[in-house]
Amino acid sequence: EAGVVQSPRYKIIEKKQPVAFWCNPISGHNTLYWYLQNLGQGPELLIRYENEEAVDDSQLPKDRFSAERLKGVDSTLKIQPAELGDSAVYLCASSLYRGYEQYFGPGTRLTVT
């Protein structure tokens, strides 16, 4: 069974440019999560989806970040415009339902110059 798929794996952009990350969760998983991981820290939740509904998005900086999960399957996280401080690893995870074991994708390493 395929795990959580993310693309791209690496992205380098200049500040003020837009960027988008894509995630395909494990088949059949209803809950999808986006996390941010800064260097030397554990991941922190940005947003959680239950099917196509965004819940628990209190940590998502809504002035520049947006996310969508159309049809309750794959998801896209967008930053516009990117700032230097957005350089980090963006991780996607999924679980069968909320509270069940979470499985992580390989992440997208973003560098903003």
């Binding site: 554990g42 690893v89 069940y100 979470q102």
Partner: protein, 108 residues
Amino acid sequence: GIQVEQSPPDLILQEGANSTLRCNFSDSVNNLQWFHQNPWGQLINLFYIPSGTKQNGRLSATTVATERYSLLYISSSQTTDSGVYFCAVTFPGTPLVFGKGTRLSVIA
């Protein structure tokens, strides 16, 4: 406030040695997971263990929820065990909260 504390922060082992990593948490938990983040950044699931004891090969874990701690045991360590080990906890009404991790280096 909600806290997940891991110890030690750093650990260096000779290949073949055993180790114990600890995770303390501040409140009763719904779920607890242990992850290994390899040098390429991939988070690998080790255990989903809100309570009790589980074993998987050279690794085992024990969570004593009433005393608010979990232990991860690594026996006969190998160089491929190197990386960062995270404990992550879901408290009632919270998302998965990660500790700061234990950075393990196994040297040949």
